[in-house]
């Protein structure tokens, strides 16, 4: 187990422009705005902005539990960037088809051996399951060629049974919830 950050010096990318809400919203009251790429992306990034932070804290806490290390060494995470800034998820990596109720998210772990890949993937899946209409089928994938055990991770993330089983593990659910929790204060 490592006590420091798994990737201490990540490359940070620029954030994309957000859709601004126009002041004069006198558009057709009854027009339908289909769910699109950017919206799914917003759902993910809105709650995952602090995910790496929460993730770090959670990981550290578990580490501490195991090794009973002194909490004194744990500082604020040194790079509190969002997954967006780390380019773990980009808008282009999201594929949405509203008519066919289908969404596929391809994410890129920061380093090849990122042990967090399954956790990040699970968080993404849970977030989408909770935020999209129930008619949607969600597909989460690791970007090809970015992870050492790509196939295994993909299989794990999209196996209904295994996801369901994972969500029955209270520890794991707690961890996911903590990662997805909004910040307090």
């Amino acid at each position: 187990m490592v006590s420091g950050l798994i990737n201490a010096n990540p490359v940070v990318y620029e954030k994309k422009e957000r859709r601004v809400r126009s002041a004069s919203d006198y558009v057709d009251e009854y027009a339908v705005e289909p769910i699109d790429q950017q919206e799914v992306f917003d759902i993910l990034s809105a709650s995952l902005i602090l995910m790496p932070v929460n993730l770090t804290i959670v990981i550290v806490r578990y580490t501490v539990m195991i090794f009973e290390r002194s909490i004194r060494d744990i500082k604020d995470p040194e790079h509190p960037y969002s997954l967006e800034e780390l380019k773990v998820i980009t808008e282009d990596a999201i594929e949405v088809n509203d008519e066919r109720s289908y969404v596929r998210v391809t994410f890129t772990p920061t380093v090849e051996h990122c042990s967090m890949a399954t956790v990040i993937g699970l968080c993404l899946r849970v977030k989408l399951m909770r935020s999209l209409p129930s008619r949607y089928k969600v597909d989460i994938r690791v970007a090809p060629g970015t992870h050492a055990t790509e196939a295994a991770v993909n299989k794990q993330l999209n196996d209904k049974e295994r996801v369901a089983a994972a969500l029955e593990n209270p520890n794991l659910v707690d961890m996911v919830d903590e990662c997805l929790a909004p910040t307090y204060g």
């Binding site: 940070v12 990318y13 009251e29 705005e33 919206e39 129930s134 008619r135 204060g185």
Partner: protein, 1150 residues
């Protein structure tokens, strides 16, 4: 007299450690107040306490001494004689030995040492004795936190108040300080220790201190950078920043710390923690100042490379040439970068020669200059090089700005090289006209060089503007710099202009535009008259911008930037009172863009033109007057064109001009103040064309000209003083009295109502006659005047407005409301016969009976079926005349009149409210006659009825709501404090009982409508008081309103009130009582398809409910989550996003 036994009791109760802290504190206070009131003397107290102070029982002795100490702390301002103070301090000094009872001794010493000079203080000798005892007896770090804090406070106090006495203790004290503060961790104590170090360093001579400096710094250095792990929610009054600041002061307290401090700071600068880097830079600039030139000289190389690294690496990677801003460099400065720049500036100011030569000889910088050819096109520069380029720009700009000499030096060494890269030749400075085409810029100019030269020019400009001496021509200091600039200004200008001229397309040449405009702007805002930038160059710059404004409006970003640059130049000229430049600016810019003649030129689209005019006009008062004049003339010309010839094109133009005038110009005039004659002239000028015109075309008013004119008129009149308003109203009255339909007879007691014209289908065109125009304009003057203004022939005016009101002229109704609102109760104008009191006005309005006259003009009393009294105004509202349109007009009018009454707090409002309520529930009566059937909805009779009731319900919105059009502060309305609250309190019981009693569904829905109007305009705090009663009614109201699409606005405002209650702490209790009902209802509205806003707010309300206590919310959880999951599939995006948040909030309850 205090009984001795009572005193003993108090002492015992304090000393007894089994008593509660409250009891102890109470007895302490009692003893202190006895002493304060001279009932008890200190001596007597000490005698009384004798046993407690000397007993061998440690606990009791400790409490006893603490009592004495605390009592002294309470007596800080009570005068004590020297002998007492002396004996007390000797006692406490002595007790410092007693570590078992130390707290009391510390408190006592501190209380005595802190005493103000007014009432007996400790002598220097005694203080020295305290310090000595402190050194000998106290092992600070062995004590508990609170005792440590007391120790440090005592030491700090001694050092500050008895510096000489304490300093004479020499090394012993220094040793004690080192020992005491070593390893301290508590933030409060740290604040004190840092300060102690600072004071000590100041107090002791260098030779003594030098032995201990190393040791002291070793202790201090451990704390850098301050790392503060206290959670934020812990209410600690010491912040990280305070600590950091205190430590910084301690660091810089003596130059003796220099060797170790600078080394430590430079070391930490290379750390990976961003906060440590920022701190180091901040400390470095502070210490540089304090340590002095000589000591810092040897670090200059290290510091320079540190600064360079910092600037090179500190940019935000999002580097873009923000074309919207001409002010900054185009990227956000991080805290790190700004600290680095501050340090650079500090070092430069302190020792410019050394660092300057380093900068000039720096390899990296020279590398950039040597490879300038790589930076040909800004777009193609790779990110890393772009960062470097910007960093060099920053470094050069900061160094040039730091002093005149460095400005010269930097410019001298870098500017010519840039000019070479740009292939600019030296223009002849004596040449008055622009250099002819001695050089044609065939190629695109090098962007890197352009960027750096603009940075340098801007820095040079700022430096010059900061120094006074420059303004005299003979100043030798600026020789080099000004000579260089003079030589190159002409060709540079030409280069910038050519950069602009070659741009063809917005997107690809963004950088070109930015550089061109920014360069010209910098040259155009060079201070010092025409000394450096000659007149012809300056005018050429202005001409370039102006021609861009007038002709190149297709290139949006270029146009915007040019406009901004012109505004900058304008406000610059205005700021430095440069008369010659102001003349040029007036001639070229203002004349071209703002002059009235230019409004006839339609090459530039009018909205853009108006934007330019308003922005440029705002850049200085002198331009503003010119602008206002131009605009005004254009408005008048267009208006008379409309009135005389009925030119619809002019009407369109006039509307835009008027809007610009009301939205942009009037706010400036108000802000600037003192331009009342402008407003007066404007108001009169609008009336002028009306006076002369006799022909009038009706169609032109369709497009909102009347509204725009009225708005401008109201605003202009509203900002005038009483005198000007009197003049305007007189003028208006004159025009009015010339109008044909004005009744020149004696004031009538009846209203002529042309019933024939009032068919249910309103004929619009007939309404827009010349009379309507004049009446409305007159009404807008009346709306805006101050209460003191005299309205001529008030009776006639009232009649006129009543007539207009019944014809459906809302402005007339608003004017009536304003008259009623502002009229003095005891009329001041008794000497003027036509003026009347409020009662008379009320009388006139309410007792006037209606007349009708037919087309033959023969007046006769209307209606064979009704007698006169029934035809009064209130009865028209009640619908006695069988003409619903008339009734609706009357009700609308009455609402505005009622608003006038309501705001001044007049009793009449009750009567008016009753009329409205009658209209609301009049359905009740008919409801009995026609039993309600589904078919009744198709009944036209019923529909008409509904529209009347609806109008009455909306009257409440007029009554309570704030109006932009009239009766507000801008238009000098009389407002009784809390009038809304009073009305709310009056209306709620009535409405509630009416709602309960009402039997027909339509009247109930109308009552709910009225209820919604009142409640949504009442301040939330009042509603919160009886939220438990209001919430059920509001929920019913929401259900009622959700049945009719046209009520979605009211529904929305009602929901806003509900969400206010839900989120307020005071509303929680009421919400908890009926949480279930609220959720049930709200869930029903999630699918409300007519308004996105309603759905969004409903979901927000539900999300707010998740914060209820868990025992309440948990039961509702399943229900809510089910309902919300449907909203996740809402057609609108905003609703879905809210639903996601709401789901998250409720989901996390489990």
């Amino acid at each position: 007299m205090a009984e001795p036994s009572q005193l003993t009791q108090h002492i015992e109760s304090f000393v007894d450690s089994y008593r509660s802290p409250n009891q102890q504190a109470a007895s302490l206070d009692a003893i202190a107040s006895l002493l304060k009131n001279n009932v008890l003397t200190i001596e007597k107290l000490v005698r009384e306490m004798d046993m407690y102070l000397t007993t061998t029982d440690d606990v009791i002795r400790a409490r006893g001494i603490l009592l004495l100490g605390e009592v002294l702390a309470h007596l800080a301002s009570k005068p004590l004689d020297d002998a007492t103070v002396h004996s007390l301090i000797v006692f406490f000094t002595d007790r410092l030995v007693d570590w078992k009872a130390l707290r009391g001794a510390l408190v006592g010493c501190l209380a005595l040492v802190r005493r103000k000079s007014s009432g007996g203080v400790v002598t220097a000798n005694d203080a020295k004795a305290v310090a000595q005892s402190y050194i000998q007896n106290l092992q600070v770090q062995l004590l508990a936190q609170h005792d440590r804090k007391l120790c440090f406070e005592l030491l700090e106090c001694l050092l500050q108040r008895y510096p000489n006495a304490v300093a004479s203790l020499g090394e012993g004290l220094l040793y004690a300080v080192c020992e005491g503060i070593d390893g301290e961790k508590d933030p409060h104590c740290l604040m004190l220790t840092f300060h102690i170090v600072e004071v000590v360093a100041r107090l002791f001579p260098d030779d003594l201190l030098s032995n201990y400096a190393g040791e002291l710094f070793e202790i201090l250095g451990c704390y850098f950078p301050i790392h503060f792990t206290h959670p934020k929610n812990e209410d600690l009054d010491v912040k990280r920043d305070d600590l950091s600041r205190a430590l910084m002061l301690a660091f810089s307290s003596t130059p003796l710390f220099e060797p170790s401090a600078i080394q430590l700071l430079l070391e930490k600068l290379s750390s990976s923690l961003p906060s440590a880097k920022v701190e180091s830079l901040k400390y470095l600039s502070h210490c540089t100042l304090k340590y002095g030139v000589d000591r810092m000289a040897k670090h200059s190389e290290a510091i320079w490379s540190a600064i360079k690294d910092a600037i090179y690496t500190s940019h935000e990677p999002s580097l873009s040439l923000a074309p919207d801003s001409l002010d900054g460099l185009g990227f956000q400065e991080s805290g790190f970068l700004s600290e680095a720049l501050t340090l650079l500036e500090t070092v430069l100011k302190q020792n410019d020669g050394l660092l300057l030569s380093r900068i000039i000889d720096d390899e990296d910088i020279n590398l950039i200059f040597n490879t300038m050819t790589n930076y040909k096109n800004y777009k193609n520069i790779p990110l890393q090089s772009k960062l470097k380029l910007h960093a060099v720009g920053l470094i050069l700009s900061v160094s040039a700005k730091s002093s005149t000499a460095s400005c010269n030096k930097i410019l001298e060494s870098f500017f010519p090289r840039l000019m070479d890269t740009l292939e600019l030749s030296v223009g002849n400075p004596s040449q008055t006209q622009l250099p002819d085409d001695n050089h044609v810029f065939t190629d695109r100019l090098n962007h890197g060089a352009l960027f750096l030269s603009i940075e340098l020019l801007a820095a040079c400009r700022d430096q010059v503007a900061g120094s006074e001496e420059f303004l005299s021509e003979s100043a030798p200091a600026h020789e080099t710099c000004s000579l260089l600039l003079k030589n190159f200004s002409a060709s540079l200008t030409k280069a910038f202009i050519s950069t602009l001229a070659t741009t063809t397309d917005d997107s690809t040449y963004g950088a070109d535009i930015y550089f061109g405009v920014k360069g010209l702007l910098v040259l155009g805002t060079f201070p010092g008259g025409f000394l450096i930038i000659s007149k012809s160059i300056f005018e050429n710059i202005l001409l370039t911008f102006t021609s861009i404004i007038t002709s190149e409006f297709n290139k949006t970003s270029l146009w915007k930037l040019a406009l901004k640059a012109l505004v900058h130049i304008g406000s610059f000229i205005d700021r430095c009172h440069d008369v010659e430049k102001a003349l040029s600016y007036m001639d070229i810019v203002i004349e071209k863009i703002v002059s009235p003649a230019s409004f006839h030129d339609f090459t530039l689209p009018l909205p853009l033109k108006l934007e330019a005019v308003s922005v440029i006009g705002a850049s200085g008062p002198s331009y503003m007057l010119k602008t206002v004049q131009g605009l005004e003339e254009a408005i008048c010309a267009n208006l008379s064109e409309v009135y005389v010839h009925g030119n619809p094109k002019s009407a369109e133009v006039a509307v835009q001009l008027l809007e610009c005038y009301s939205n942009k110009v009037l706010p400036w005039i108000d802000e600037a103040g003192g331009y009342e004659e402008v407003l007066l002239r404007f108001a009169l000028n609008i009336w002028n064309p009306l006076e002369n015109c006799s022909v009038f075309s009706a169609q032109v008013h369709e497009n909102g000209l009347l509204d725009a004119t009225m708005k401008a008129m109201k605003l202009a009149v509203g900002s005038c003083s009483v005198e000007s308003q009197n003049i305007i109203i007189q003028k208006a009255y004159n025009v009015l009295s010339l109008s044909t339909s004005f009744p020149l007879k004696e004031p009538m007691s009846t209203i002529p109502v042309q019933l024939k014209g009032l068919k249910l289908t309103q004929e619009r065109n007939s309404c827009y006659s010349r009379d309507v125009l004049i009446h409305s304009l007159f009404a807008s003057v009346i709306i805006a005047v101050r209460p003191q203004v005299h309205i001529p022939n008030l009776r006639l005016v009232l009649c006129l407005f009543m007539t207009a009101l019944l014809k459906g002229n809302v402005a007339a109704a608003q004017a009536l409301g304003s008259i009623i609102n502002k009229l003095d109760v005891k009329s001041t104008g008794t000497e003027i016969p036509s003026n009347c009191t409020l009662e008379e006005v009320v009388d006139i309005i309410f007792s006037m009976s209606s007349w009708s006259f037919d087309d033959n003009g023969l007046s006769r009393k209307h209606g064979g079926m009704n007698n006169e009294s029934e035809m009064g105004f209130p009865n028209i509202c009640r619908g006695v005349v069988n003409n619903k349109l008339l009734q609706i007009h009357a009700i609308t009018g009455l609402a505005w009149i009622g608003k006038g009454f309501l705001m001044r707090g007049h009793e009449k409002i009750k009567e008016i409210t009753m009329i409205f309520l009658e209209c609301l529930s009049s359905d009740e009566k008919t409801g009995f006659l026609l039993p309600e059937q589904d078919s009744s909805y198709d009944n036209p009779e019923h529909n008409v009825h509904l529209s009347v009731a609806k109008c009455a319900a909306d009257a409440f919105q007029v009554l309570v709501g704030d109006s932009e059009d009239c009766l507000n502060r801008k238009f000098h309305a009389t407002m009784r404090p809390l009038y809304k609250q009073r009305y709310y309190l009056m209306m709620m019981p009535i409405l509630q009982s009416l709602i309960v009693e009402s039997k027909s569904s339509s009247s109930r829905s109308m009552l709910h409508r009225a209820f919604a109007h009142i409640i949504s305009d009442t301040p939330l705090s009042v509603i919160l008081n009886d939220a438990n009663k209001m919430i059920p009614v509001m929920l019913d109201g929401l259900s009622e309103l959700s049945n009719d699409i046209s009520d979605k606005e009211s529904m929305y405002s009602l929901l806003l009130v509900l969400s206010g209650i839900l989120t307020d702490k005071n509303g929680q209790e009421a919400v908890m009582e009926c949480a279930h009902r609220i959720i049930d209802r709200l869930i029903g509205f999630i699918a409300y398809s007519h308004s996105t806003l309603v759905r969004e707010t409903v979901i927000q309300c539900i999300a707010a409910m998740s914060r209820l206590p868990r025992m309440r919310s948990y039961k509702l959880r399943t229900q809510v989550l089910q309902a919300i999951s449907k909203a996740l599939d809402d057609p609108k995006r905003v609703v879905r996003l809210e639903a996601v948040k709401c789901r998250q909030a409720w989901g996390s309850i489990g």
